[in-house]
Symmetry: C2
Subunit: 113 residues, 2 copies
DNA sequence: ATAACACTTGAACAATCGTTCAAGTGTGGC
DNA sequence: GCCACACTTGAACGATTGTTCAAGTGTTAT
């Protein structure tokens, strides 16, 4: 049932990269990992501050340390964030720079709704 | 527990857009909507072909029409896709162009894992 | 050694999502 | 009208996620 191509309905693909089924799986895993308001908030905060202790993130986002820790470990497990201990505190920062490109795009998308 | 800013650890935010809590919610909704291998596959196919009937997508992705229909209606509900009926067929196409920017970014991100 | 702080972990439960199936609507051909 | 095709819908149920709570580890200070 595909349309026949004529000059009027000709279509130019815009994606430069073709993702095979395995890549689609991986892409979905990464998207799911950030597809949560709290986790998006974390990424945004870390972009602003570069590095933050868990208690600071907890306070700024109004999320219980325990719940936040679960969210953070999700992101760390996928190597989207990294940690550094300094005394009693553990500082989180963005590890995967492509995350910011993603955030920028989703920002553009979300602002239209 | 925030770090004091000195020239050595100074940090430049990279995001140009600040998303408030409501926007973070919306962004998460959109991300969740695409965060599935089948739905990412649909977006990719539609970028390639411009417009496709459900039976074509079903065949190309190897997904049962019923399940595919559920996925498609998710995406349509959020106005990420649009439809057009022609005879017995219903053609789907990408409605929200920002989707492609998102796909491009997630492609870059996923290829590193 | 004890206590306080910062954070993590795991189990339990609730909430959401993905999939299947059976029944439904809309369209075109005979 | 009847049938076949293309697709949608809704209910059911399993699978995955999100959240809470109580108990745990590691660190510093006294």
């Amino acid at each position: 049932m595909e349309q026949t191509i004529t000059p009027e309905n000709a279509h130019q693909p815009q994606l430069t990269r073709w993702l095979d089924p395995l890549m689609l799986e991986r892409a979905a895993v990464i998207l799911k990992a950030v597809a949560h308001p709290a986790r998006l908030g974390v990424v945004q905060l870390l972009d602003q501050h570069g590095e933050l202790a868990v208690c600071d993130i907890s306070e700024k986002l109004g999320i219980e340390p325990s719940l936040l820790s679960h969210h953070l470990s999700n992101l760390k497990l996928l190597r989207l964030l990294r940690t550094r201990r300094e005394g009693k505190n553990i500082f989180y920062a963005i590890e995967e720079d492509h995350l910011l490109g993603l955030m920028e795009c989703i920002g553009n998308c979300a602002c239209k709704f």
